[in-house]
C-alpha cells in the first residue's frame, strides 16, 4: 500500500516535471535569444573583415511581426552590423509572406545584407518571387535592401579589401550535386558561401578556402542522439547540428537560427543571433 502511494507520487512528480519542461520549451526558450559570438581564424577573411561587425541570421520562420522578431531587430540595432548574412527559411510552411517581408524591410546594415532562400521559402513558389520582385512584375523589390543570391557569386569591396560572397539556392539541387558549380571559379578568395542546407559542405573540396554559413537544423530544437536523428531522416542534424566545423581548409558555421518548425519548442537549443569575429 505504501509502495503504491509512493509510485503514484513519483508519477505525479514526473508528469509535473515534464509539463514544466514542455512549458519552458514552448513559452520561454524560443524567446530567449542569445547573441552568440563566434571567433573564426582565417588569414584571408581576417584581413578584410577583422574590424567589421558581421552578423548571421537564420531560420526566422516569421508568421507575423511578433515579440521574437522585435527582439532580433533590437539586438541588431545595438550591434550596428556592417554586414548581415541571412541563411534562409524566413516563413512557415505555406504561410503568409507578409510578416517575413516586413521583417526584412526593417533590417539594416552599413555595408549590405545578402541572403539565400530555404526550402520553406519555396513552399509557395509563387509567393517566393516576392522576396526579390514587386508583386505581379519582374521589377526588383523596393521593400527591402536584402540582396538574394541564387547560385551566384559576387565581389564585395570595403576599405580593407575585397571578399567574395556566394549563395547556393536550395531549389537548384542539380547545381549543388554538380562538380564545381559556383565554387569552380578560380581566384575567388576570400570566399563566403551562404547555403541554407549544411549538407552542401560535403560537396566542397577539402582544399577549398571557404567559409560556409548555413542553418536549417535549428540545432535540433531539442537534444537528441545522432542515431535517433538518422533514424528519423535528419542526417543534416546528426552531422552538422550546430556550431563550427572544419575539414581540410574548408570551414562551416551552422546557426541554430531564430524560429521553430514542426513543433514550436526549443529546449537547450536557444535561438541565436550570431556575431562572427574574424581574425588572421
Amino acid at each position: 500500500m505504501h509502495l503504491k502511494k509512493a509510485t503514484s507520487w513519483c508519477v505525479v512528480w514526473i508528469l509535473l516535471g515534464l509539463s514544466l519542461i514542455i512549458a519552458y520549451g514552448v513559452c520561454v526558450e524560443p524567446y530567449r535569444i542569445e547573441v552568440h559570438h563566434v571567433w573564426i581564424s582565417d588569414k584571408y577573411l581576417g584581413k578584410v573583415l577583422e574590424k567589421k561587425v558581421v552578423v548571421q541570421l537564420s531560420d526566422l520562420h516569421v508568421s507575423k511581426m511578433g515579440k521574437r522578431e522585435q527582439t532580433v531587430l533590437k539586438i541588431l540595432d545595438n550591434l550596428k552590423p556592417d554586414f548581415v548574412f541571412l541563411t534562409g527559411d524566413y516563413v512557415g510552411w505555406h504561410s503568409d509572406y507578409r510578416g517575413a517581408l516586413d521583417f526584412l524591410s526593417q533590417l539594416k546594415a552599413k555595408s549590405g545584407i545578402w541572403a539565400v532562400m530555404g526550402d520553406y521559402d519555396y513552399s509557395n513558389t509563387r509567393k517566393s518571387c516576392l522576396f526579390c520582385h514587386e508583386e505581379g512584375t519582374g521589377k526588383s523589390s523596393l521593400r527591402h535592401s536584402v540582396r538574394f543570391l541564387r547560385d551566384t557569386i559576387e565581389p564585395v569591396s570595403s576599405e580593407e579589401g575585397t571578399f567574395w560572397i556566394g549563395g547556393i539556392d536550395i531549389e537548384r539541387k542539380d547545381l549543388i550535386s554538380s562538380t564545381g558549380g559556383v565554387l569552380s571559379l578560380p581566384g575567388k578568395k576570400p570566399l563566403i558561401i551562404l547555403s541554407h542546407n549544411p549538407l552542401f559542405f560535403d560537396r566542397i573540396d577539402r582544399e577549398q578556402e571557404v567559409l560556409v554559413l548555413a542553418g536549417d537544423t535549428h540545432g535540433g530544437q531539442i537534444p537528441m542522439p545522432s542515431w535517433l536523428l538518422i533514424a528519423l531522416g535528419y542526417r543534416k542534424n546528426a552531422l552538422y547540428s550546430q556550431g563550427l566545423f572544419q575539414t581540410g581548409r574548408k570551414k562551416m558555421f551552422v546557426s541554430r537560427g531564430i524560429g521553430t518548425s514542426h513543433v514550436p519548442v526549443r529546449i537547450l537549443r536557444q535561438p541565436e543571433v550570431t556575431v562572427l569575429h574574424f581574425q588572421e
Partner: protein, 207 residues
C-alpha cells in the same frame, strides 16, 4: 399476304433508322483537361521559377475565358514547370496544348516530360523542340513519340509527373500565351485534325 406488305415495309423502315444511326455512331473522343488557366488559384499550383512571370490573360485563349501569359526573361531556361494532377496517361493517345506567339518571328519552344520525380537526366526523359510560328500554334505530341532522348525507350505513361515548356537562352524577353493543356484519345485527335484548318481564326481576345 397483301395487307401485311405495308406493315413489313414500315417495320423495315423503322429497323433501318436505328441501323443507320448505329453505323454513324462513333465513340466520342475522350479528353482530359490538365490545365485551363482560368483562376488565380491555378497560378498558385504552378511551380514558379526565376526569369518567368506567369499571369492570367483574356487574350489568345482557346478554352474558357483566360489563358496563361508567360513572360520569359533572358536566362538559361525560362519557362513553365507543371505537375499534372493526372499521372496515368495510358488511356490517352496524345498531349495537346495551344500556344500563341505574339512575336513577329518564330520562337523555338522546348518540351520536357519526366516519368520520375527525381529529376531524371537529359537522356532519361522526353525532350523535344518545336518551332512556334507567329500567331496561334496547336501543339500535338502523340504518345508514340513519347520516348527517352538517350535510349529511345518509351516513357512510363503510368507515372508522368512533370511537364515543362521553356525557351533555351533567349536573348530578348519572349512572351507566350498558353492554354488548354489536355490529353486526348484517338477519336478526339480526328476532331482536332479537322479543327486545325481553323487554327488562325482562333486568334482573338476572349473577353
Amino acid at each position: 399476304m397483301e395487307p401485311y406488305k405495308g406493315i413489313i415495309r414500315r417495320f423495315g423502315l423503322l429497323l433501318l433508322f436505328p441501323i443507320i444511326l448505329l453505323n454513324c455512331w462513333k465513340e466520342p473522343g475522350r479528353e482530359l483537361l490538365l490545365f485551363d488557366f482560368e483562376s488565380d488559384a491555378e497560378l498558385d499550383q504552378l511551380s514558379w521559377h526565376c526569369h518567368a512571370l506567369n499571369s492570367l490573360s483574356a487574350q489568345h485563349c482557346t478554352h474558357g475565358s483566360k489563358s496563361l501569359k508567360l513572360e520569359l526573361y533572358p536566362s538559361d531556361y525560362p519557362g513553365l514547370d507543371l505537375m499534372p494532377r493526372e499521372h496515368d496517361w495510358r488511356e490517352y493517345k496524345e498531349l495537346r496544348f495551344d500556344v500563341y506567339n505574339p512575336q513577329v518571328t518564330n520562337v523555338q519552344l522546348s518540351v520536357r516530360i519526366d516519368d520520375r520525380n527525381d529529376s531524371p537526366g537529359y537522356d532519361d526523359r522526353y525532350n523535344k523542340s518545336f518551332v512556334l510560328n507567329p500567331g496561334m500554334n496547336h501543339m500535338n505530341i502523340p504518345f508514340s513519340t513519347l520516348v527517352r532522348s538517350g535510349t529511345g525507350k518509351p516513357l512510363s505513361r503510368k507515372s508522368i509527373c512533370r511537364f515543362l515548356v521553356f525557351v533555351v537562352r533567349p536573348k530578348n524577353k519572349v512572351d507566350l500565351y498558353l492554354d488548354n493543356i489536355r490529353l486526348t484519345s484517338d477519336a478526339a485527335s480526328d476532331q482536332w485534325q479537322k479543327g486545325s484548318n481553323f487554327s488562325q481564326s482562333l486568334m482573338f481576345p476572349c473577353a
